[in-house]
Every structure is written in structure tokens, then in C-alpha cells.
């Protein structure tokens, strides 16, 4: 871990904040990702996001069952504790996770309460290459008119996410990462329509 935990993570934060306030806008963490030498079974952008947000006050969940080593490493680096899906503040989805696993996890994760909608889970999701040309049309706060996006989430995963955010202000906020150290965010306020499917 040769990146700077103060200044590099501040930059990562600002880039993610930029993307979170402008859903569909892809930010690149390449410069900082070059300095990541942790050799973990996840993308550099994933570990950078985790390092930015996790500390002893937070809990996280990893969908894959055989990632004990990654769980231990993240706990060691950040002091965050591993928790079951229905308690975790952050949920990490790795490339290997199946759509069915993602779907059931979305159904079971923390969604906040009407009094405290901030008590919901934030997802860090590894995707195939993110692109602003894609099948998704985004609308909502942070987007001037519409934005286009491509992620590895399929129709059923978006359906589960849309169900989870139906009772706004309840809902989950998503951070997608890819192997080129790009990030893009979909907060609960974004309405998503998948092209070709009504």
C-alpha cells in the first residue's frame, strides 16, 4: 500500500463525490490506482473506495462466500467489521458474484427507515468496463436532462434495485467500479430505464 492515505484518499473521495452528485458521470481513479500494490482479489478502484469510506464505525459485507482472505485484509486495513447482509453499512460485490446472489442480497440489505433514511447500505459493485454509451437511461437530481450508462448489471438486478428504491427516501446508493479504475454512482434518486425493455 504505497498510496497516500491522506491525500490520495481525499482525491478519491472528491472524485466519487463528483460522480455521486452527477449520476452517470464516470470518474477515473487511474493516477491513484497506479500506486496501489496490495495484490488483493478485487479491483484497485474497489479497494480505494473501501479505504475511503470504511473505518471502525462501519460494517461491510462481501457477497462471495469464499473470500475469507479479502474480508480479513479489508478489516485489517480499515478496522471495519464484517457483518451479515441485513446489517452491513457497505456491501461489496465482486466480479464473480452471480445475478441471483446479487438480487437476493439487494432484497435483504439495509434500506433505511422513513425517519432515518441515511441508515441504508451503500454498495460497491465491480462491473465490466463502464461506459457512458449504453442501454441505461438515467434521469433525476444531478442530471441535466438524461444520461446514458452501461454497467454489468442485468435487467433483473436493475429490477431488484428499482424495487428497493421505490419508497423514496428509502433506498440504496450504488458505486460501480471497473478494472480500469473508473467509478460511476447511482444514488437512490436516479430513475433508470433499461432500453428495449418496458
Amino acid at each position: 500500500m504505497t498510496f497516500d492515505q491522506v491525500h490520495d484518499l481525499q482525491q478519491v473521495y472528491r472524485l466519487i463525490l463528483h460522480s455521486m452528485s452527477r449520476p452517470g458521470t464516470i470518474s477515473s481513479l487511474t493516477d491513484i490506482a497506479e500506486r496501489v500494490d496490495m495484490n488483493l482479489p478485487c479491483y484497485d478502484a474497489t479497494i480505494l473506495s473501501a479505504m475511503t469510506f470504511f473505518d471502525v464505525e462501519t460494517t461491510f459485507h462481501i457477497l462471495s462466500e469464499d473470500q475469507q482472505e479479502l474480508i480479513e485484509k479489508i478489516s485489517e486495513y480499515t478496522s471495519a467489521k464484517y457483518a451479515p447482509i441485513n446489517e452491513a453499512d457497505f456491501v461489496i460485490v465482486l466480479r464473480e458474484d452471480t445475478e441471483t446472489a446479487i438480487q437476493s442480497a439487494i432484497q435483504n440489505c439495509k434500506n433505511g427507515t422513513l425517519i432515518d433514511p441515511q441508515l441504508s447500505s451503500t454498495w460497491i459493485i465491480e462491473s465490466t468496463l463502464l461506459s457512458s454509451e449504453g442501454e441505461l437511461t438515467l434521469r433525476g437530481p444531478g442530471i441535466q436532462e438524461t444520461a446514458q450508462l452501461h454497467t454489468s448489471f442485468d435487467h433483473s438486478a436493475w429490477h431488484a434495485r428499482n424495487e428497493k428504491t421505490k419508497e423514496y427516501p428509502l433506498g440504496i446508493d450504488l458505486i460501480f467500479t471497473d478494472e480500469n479504475a473508473q467509478v460511476v454512482c447511482i444514488p437512490r434518486t436516479t430513475s433508470i430505464s433499461v432500453m428495449g425493455v418496458s
Binding site: F53, E57, T113, P187
Partner: protein
């Protein structure tokens, strides 16, 4: 003796907690996210909410501008600027367009903000329902139930009493059609600048321990009735006595000796900019 402080004054744990709160605030526009407001080296009520936001987001390459009621050089602005500069060594500016982070008390600059800027507003009372209901757990429930009859009634009573809504600053707004939010004590003149703004707007209340936000391109609607539409302060027939600008927010200045009234730009850096521009034209034409 002077302690050698960490970058941006805060420990990394404090920054992380505030950063997480900001993310939630952005994801739920207008909703007040509670956070563990830290003890700061300035008193609560003097911009500690804004300061904590600024310190949590600022990085080495940022350019900071701090204003207090439109002025770059008032005590509050200067103290905050000094504290941030001493702990981060970031570049300071008075030029609105050069800044990447603008911390402000009670004004949004006259120059339109861009997508690369973040404006941080200091908030004394983040709860728009506080005048209606004292208890926090009740106001939280009212927000959750979308129950804003109290705040509508407050405006209605003002119309009954004064013939118009009598909010002078901090006129409540609807954000994204869901949450009623206190826009901080900005004049009504500035409320419209929040609507579909290009820049991210962060609001911090240190004493009340709340952080909230308005993302860019978000609907912000000032509360008003159909027959009593929302109006902003009018400066018709007045212009700045220094730079001659109109259509901006003006301060009324009364000469103590003569009792004479004059008007002046509230946004000092905007005024300075206009004067410099004029001077440049004068110099060019007189030498040509």
C-alpha cells in the same frame, strides 16, 4: 507553543465520518443527515458546520474562497480562511471564478457557479419546521411523513398579518419535490440560484449537528401560494454607488452624518471585478 496539526486540522476518522454523511446528503437531497459535529477552534454558531465540511473535502490542489454576507474581508471569513490555510496550505482567492471550494455565510455569489465548484453554506438553524415544532423527534417524524402543513400555515399566517410572506431570509424551499429545506439565511434573492444549479451545494450546521445538500440540476422550489407567488427583494431604481451594477443584491448604506442613503453591491468581489473591468476600459481608451 504551536501544535503541529494534521492536514486539514481533522484526524482522518473525523473526515471519513463527515465524508460519509455528505454522500448520504447528496443521495437524499434536502434531508438533514445527522453527524458527530466536532469541537472546533472557533465557537459554535460561527460557521463550524461549514468549516467542518470544507476541511473534510479540501485537498492540496483546491483553491478556497470564503465569504461572509458577501464580503471576502470580514472577520469571520478571514478567520476561517486563515485556519484552513494554516492547516492545508491551499491557495486562497477572492475571485469567485477561480475558486474550487467556496465557503459562504448567508450569500450565494453573483457570478454563476460551475460544475467544478462546490459551495459550502454555513447554517445556524437547519430545521425549517423548528418554528412550528420544538421537539427534534417530532420534526423528524413530520419530515418522514411528508407533513409540511405547519410550515405552510406559518407562511399563511404571515400573509394574514402582513399581507405578504414576511420571511426576510431563509425562505423555506422544496427540494426535489420531497423535502422542505432551510436554504440557510440567504436572502430570497439567492433562492433561485439553488434551482438547477451547476455546482454542488453543501450545507453544514455545526451546532445542530446536521449536514445536507442540494446536488446540481435539482429542482429547488421556494414555498409560495398560487395567489401569493414567491417574490425576491427588489432593488428597482437603485444601483451600486461604486460600480453602477443593477440586478444584483444591494446593501443599503446610511451616512451617519448626513443621513443620506446609498446602495452598494453586497458581493464585494463582484463589485471589485466590475470596477477593475471599467478601469481597464478607461485606461485602454485614454491611451488609444
Amino acid at each position: 507553543m504551536k501544535a503541529n496539526t494534521h492536514f486539514a486540522f481533522f484526524d482522518e476518522g473525523s473526515k471519513k465520518e463527515i465524508r460519509r454523511a455528505i454522500m448520504k446528503a447528496v443521495a437524499i437531497p434536502g434531508y438533514q443527515v445527522p453527524f458527530a459535529s466536532r469541537e472546533m477552534p472557533i465557537a459554535r454558531g460561527w460557521g463550524t458546520g461549514g468549516l467542518q465540511l470544507t476541511l473534510s473535502i479540501i485537498g492540496k490542489s483546491d483553491v478556497l474562497k470564503v465569504i461572509d454576507q458577501g464580503a471576502d474581508e470580514s472577520v469571520n471569513a478571514v478567520s476561517i480562511k486563515k485556519l484552513v490555510h494554516e492547516t492545508t496550505n491551499v491557495e486562497l482567492t477572492e475571485e469567485t471564478s477561480e475558486a474550487t471550494i467556496i465557503q459562504s455565510r448567508h450569500r450565494i455569489p453573483e457570478v454563476p457557479l460551475t460544475k467544478d465548484q462546490i459551495i459550502v453554506l454555513q447554517v445556524p438553524t437547519p430545521e425549517p419546521l423548528r418554528g412550528v415544532e420544538e421537539r427534534e423527534f417530532v420534526t423528524k417524524r413530520m419530515h418522514s411523513e411528508d407533513d409540511y402543513s405547519g410550515v405552510w400555515l406559518m407562511l399563511f399566517e404571515q400573509i394574514m398579518k402582513y399581507g405578504r410572506t414576511a420571511t426576510f431570509a431563509d425562505h423555506p424551499v422544496y427540494v426535489n419535490g420531497r423535502y422542505v429545506m432551510a436554504p440557510s439565511p440567504i436572502p430570497r434573492f439567492d433562492n433561485n440560484k439553488m434551482h438547477q444549479s451547476e455546482s454542488l451545494i453543501l450545507l453544514g450546521a455545526g451546532r445542530e449537528k446536521k449536514i445536507y445538500a442540494v446536488p446540481p440540476f435539482t429542482n429547488v422550489e421556494s414555498l409560495a401560494f398560487e395567489d401569493y407567488p414567491f417574490t425576491v427583494e427588489s432593488f428597482e431604481g437603485h444601483k451600486c454607488h461604486l460600480c453602477g451594477s443593477t440586478d444584483i443584491f444591494l446593501d443599503e448604506i446610511i451616512d451617519q452624518q448626513t443621513g443620506e442613503k446609498s446602495h452598494q453591491c453586497n458581493d464585494t468581489s463582484f463589485c471589485m471585478d466590475q470596477l477593475n473591468r471599467k478601469e481597464k476600459v478607461e485606461v485602454q481608451t485614454s491611451y488609444a
